[in-house]
Symmetry: C2
């Protein structure tokens, strides 16, 4: 599995845009990154006036395989409920782009990618990546695809941060924006959970200062613990109680041992161990760090509203009642800032007990909200079916 | 530090009651434990009719040093705000007993204690301990001290579980009970966080299947990660935001690195690293497991009320508004059961943003609540000042 993962990092099972020395990526940390690559998937067809492109931004450990099988796990795309023919992000109608973030491990340049100067993986020699860097790289990809204005930028969690950053960085290039279950900055508690995860990775002796690939090992135990801790924050207390409660795993009485007596223990262990098969430990450090550094208002003199001034993007902000990672209060900060910047905004708080991960699930109210928002935005944008898709019908 | 810790496990800096083969401890897991020891501290004087004894039960990683300096850290006792001369648990008036739990590492028999059969630490050969085992051992200590009825049993968190168990197991021996920031059973989320901690410990190669002492090593990195994760659950999101927010640690700008840029990171790392100096990793497995197994109603056919039937104990149940580890809804379960069992109960929810750890802090409303409850209970019990303390005044 380690070998496969390295292959994905350099030669992904998806399209890839390679930017040479003449097109470096300016990073917030200072350096210019060149060469660098962005791995991406597209679905649907770009229409004649190039007005129907939707950029989907993935969350922390997501990837470009938004609506097609993951090359390592063979599982359906992570947002299959939302993206596809006839889905709210309708690939019969829209041209959907999803790229792996810079710092990721599925083909865009990240710590698992080969550093051309050394021939070894970048490891911690890769400059620390920010959400703004991710978005800057995506903008270069959009240029590369010959698209001037995106019809919509959509994403949940860290993907939502990218949505906000897109409008702030490129106000003229985003017609509509759908930030979901996200925050304009990382809170102390958010940072704290990420720091626990990083320390778990770094505490694993197989991490070897980030140079594990050179030693032919992987800090799988530390990374699994990191994922377990994070996973708790993706679910609500209520959902855990409903789903698992104190139910025992394949036994009728406690064993008085440290085995996984409880179903919740078994579930968490599975989450940890399956995660390490598809994700790179250093990449986990980079993407968590990018979130921690995210504080959009700070880049605009402390005023979040100022980040949006000059944009005309129409927004739909979505939160979930039981999301305690990025609770509705975070969404309200975004909405207030958009109001202050006089941007058109709808705000929908979805009632659900499924916690933060609700944005990845088939939540009827959420699906309907997205469909309605994109429908009305498409009318406003005057989007017609791409000729090819229309002909096929 | 490892050596000191082993000394505390066998020869604590406190009183110790040693129970020989003729007085084994019946454990829920099945075995009889003999010999075994209970390390304890006392404060104040037992009055002539032995009616003024308060048993304080400590939380997960607490110990018997409730109101005097910790022998390893030299820090003041963990409940100095509550216990001492003139404090609500007034040592001028009450005889206060606090014992280290079975499974602990400060002198009561636990995995760090020497197994007399092997001459090595028990490690995982010690049967898994339950909250009922802890209480059964405490009852033997109370017998040993010649006390028939406790004036009060008080404790927060896992200490509160022991309070509930005391009344259930020994309804005639508890005049009043003060369970604080606790729950009648561990929820799926509670178990999940504990499991993350245990997996962090066990992932540390220095854990060595629990036999680290024999190898002269300690799984400090894993234990520190476990503590960091747990510590987040002891604080509220609001308190973290107020105390730390996104403040940087000794720097004016982010370093774009994995250093502890943020104060919250520095704080958490400190919590992790200082914890390992005073606590045994295997003991952490045992005490977390005891909490996970706690489900008082399950021992009474699923009826929590039935656990309290036959008792006449007067209760004061305390919760804190911002405690998300054992929220007020857990306290309500206790109160409803006590009501159903027709026991006298006061219920106080304290308004605070300090989270679960509020019970350890100098919270004025909480201090006043405890003082008032013990005051009226002392009158009902007809407690007079112990002669010696009265003469000293």
């Amino acid at each position: 599995m380690a070998i496969i993962s390295v292959q994905e990092a350099d030669n992904p099972s998806s399209r890839i845009a390679r930017f040479g020395p003449e097109k470096p990526l300016q990073m917030d940390a200072g350096p210019l990154l060149a060469p660098f690559s962005i791995a991406y998937q597209t679905y649907g067809e770009l229409n004649a006036d190039r007005s129907n492109a939707i950029l989907v931004c993935h969350a922390l450990t997501g990837d470009q395989h938004v609506a097609s099988a993951h090359p390592l796990t063979q599982k359906p795309g992570w947002w299959s409920a939302m993206v596809g023919p006839g889905r709210p992000i309708d690939t019969d109608r829209f041209f959907v782009i999803c790229s792996n973030v810079i710092g990721g491990c599925m083909g865009s340049t990240g710590p698992a990618s080969t550093n051309p100067e050394t021939g070894s993986p970048w490891g911690l020699d890769l400059p620390v990546v920010t959400v703004r860097d991710m978005v800057r790289a995506q903008a270069m990809l959009i240029d590369h695809l010959g698209i001037e204005t995106l019809f919509c930028v959509a994403g949940g969690s860290m993907g939502g941060m990218q949505v906000l950053q897109w409008v702030a960085s490129y106000p003229d290039r985003v017609f509509s924006a759908l930030p979901i279950a996200t925050a304009p900055k990382h809170s102390a508690q958010n940072i704290a959970f990420h720091e626990v995860g990083r320390q778990a990775v770094m505490a694993d002796p197989d991490w070897r200062g980030g140079r594990y690939a050179q030693f032919g090992v992987r800090p799988t135990k530390g990374l699994a613990v990191a994922r377990m801790a994070a996973h708790i924050t993706y679910l609500s207390e209520g959902a855990l109680q409903r789903k698992f409660g104190r139910k025992l795993q394949d036994r009728v009485a406690p064993t008085f041992s440290f085995d996984a007596d409880f179903q919740i223990e078994n579930y968490l262990r599975y989450q940890g161990s399956s995660f390490v098969d598809r994700f790179d430990a250093n990449s986990y450090l980079y993407v968590t760090r990018a979130c921690d550094y995210f504080d959009l208002a700070a880049d605009y003199g402390g005023s979040l509203a100022r980040a949006f001034v000059g944009a005309a993007t129409r927004f739909c902000v979505v939160s979930f009642t039981s999301d305690w990672l990025y609770p509705t209060s975070d969404a309200r900060l975004i909405v207030h800032a958009l109001n202050a910047a006089t941007l058109p905004v709808s705000f929908v708080e979805i009632e659900t007990d499924k916690g933060h991960d609700a944005f990845l699930l088939d939540e009827p109210d959420f699906i309907a909200t997205t469909r309605g928002f994109l429908e009305s935005a498409a009318i406003a944008r005057g989007i017609v079916q791409p000729s090819k898709a229309a002909a096929a019908k």
